[in-house]
Amino acid sequence: MRLIGVDLLCERGGRRVFSGLGFAVSGGEALVVTGPNGAGKSSLLRVIAGLVRHDAGTITLEGGDDELPVPAQCHYAGHYDALKPSLTVMENLSFWQSFFEVPGLDPLDALDELEIGHLADLPGAYLSAGQRRRLALARLLVARRPVWLLDEPTSALDRRSEAKLTALMNAHVADGGIVMAATHTPLELVNRRELQIGRPQA
């Protein structure tokens, strides 16, 4: 499996975010996207996720499911946790499992994996920022999708949860999955490669 972006061009609000950008990640690799603020790290991930239009270039997932568009094979965890405060933690998570329709971990096991199993029956409103973030990450486990797109996944996480996240990312990579993460936290990832985007302070 190989996720390839060729000659990507993205313009937002008349401003050119990036152009001529290319990358390739194979299954079993983690690609860390780095660059200065405003270089387009978030935009790149959102372009791959199909949430932002790219004005030129192509994105393909070789060896993926040809029936599905690339975004439907990606998990995206962005700045927002997509958590409904009036639904319980369990309801939040099992909805996404049913909606994504692909098999994965049992929601309760996924919550336990992220050490928030004891919160399963609480409304989302009661969760702290770190707990919300962990619930958002549990979503990656309940439906198996080959590509993980993570935008600043460590924000609001403490060191222990950060280590947990690193372990999950490594497990996904070891399983043949692809991880693309925009982060400045030096995570100890196996098979880690780096994609530097943006000119360093033009």
């Binding site: 050490e115 004891h118 919160l119 609480l122 409103a125 702290s128 707990q131």
Partner: protein
């Protein structure tokens, strides 16, 4: 001595203990008063020579209407307590009273409509009294809607208290303007709930029913306050459960902000 005991009552835990002790008795007395009142309504009070048997609706309609207004007064007093002294029990009292007040108002509206049907020939006329009660009903529903929209109990209580006080100031103005509007348009039928004189045989059942309704309010209000206090405790416990990180307290670095 007396003051001290009042402050003791204001402590939610003491309050809960007291309510649990008093409530069964209160419920029993309420039931007995209702039995007496309803008996008098149906078997003692005479039928009206004009309105016939339908006059018996009055013994439910009029006390319900009184209680609808009394409940709002209780809410107003509690709102002052809530805003001025920031007293948690006052918050709870406002919240617990609103649905009860709405129920009494609805009862008054329904019985008023049933009572009027033979005379008006319609289930509803825009009679000044009935219309004012409809507005009161909507105000109760508005207060309940505001309560249910704000999740955090303290913030909800303050918002509701302010709205309750605004309503209290506005109710006489609304009543006055509705009367004005009604006389301006020549009401469809002239109808007054209370005649100029009430005969004692009518008055006694009415009084007993009024006492029964007041006791019912007291019972329901205390029970609702107890439920609300317990509901808040559950909320606090769940919040504690959310912040209590099981199994991660070993390292100080794991403490959540």
């Amino acid at each position: 001595m007396k003051l001290k005991s009042i402050w003791d009552l204001a402590n939610p835990t003491r309050f809960l203990g007291l309510v649990n002790a008093v409530l069964p008795w209160l419920a029993g007395i309420t039931a007995l008063t209702f039995i007496a009142g309803l008996y008098m309504t149906f078997f003692v009070a005479p039928a009206d020579y004009q309105q016939g048997e339908t006059v018996r609706i009055m013994y439910i309609h009029v006390p319900a209407a009184w209680l609808a207004m009394l409940t709002y007064s209780v809410m107003t007093a509690s709102s002052i307590g809530s805003l001025v002294w920031r007293h948690p029990l006052a918050d709870v009292s406002v919240k617990a009273a609103a649905p009860i007040g709405a129920a009494f108002t609805l009862l008054a509206l329904i019985t008023g409509s049933l009572w009027g049907k033979p005379m008006w020939g319609a289930w509803w006329v825009w009679d000044a009294r009935l219309t004012s009660f409809l507005v009161l009903f909507i105000m109760y529903l508005g207060l309940m809607a505001l309560q249910s929209t704000i999740e955090e109990p303290g913030r909800a209580a303050r918002a509701v208290a302010i709205l309750t006080l605004v309503g209290f100031v506005n109710i006489p103005i609304i009543k006055f303007s509705v009367d004005w509007w009604n006389t301006l348009h020549q009401p469809a039928s002239v109808f007054r709930a209370d005649g100029p004189t009430i005969h004692p045989t009518l008055l006694w059942p009415l009084l007993v029913m009024a006492i029964a309704f007041s006791l019912l309010f007291l019972t329901l209000h205390l029970a609702a306050m107890r439920n609300e206090i317990l509901r808040r405790r559950i909320r606090t416990l769940r919040l504690m459960q959310a912040s209590g990180e099981t199994g991660t307290a070993a390292t100080p670095a794991a403490q959540e902000a």
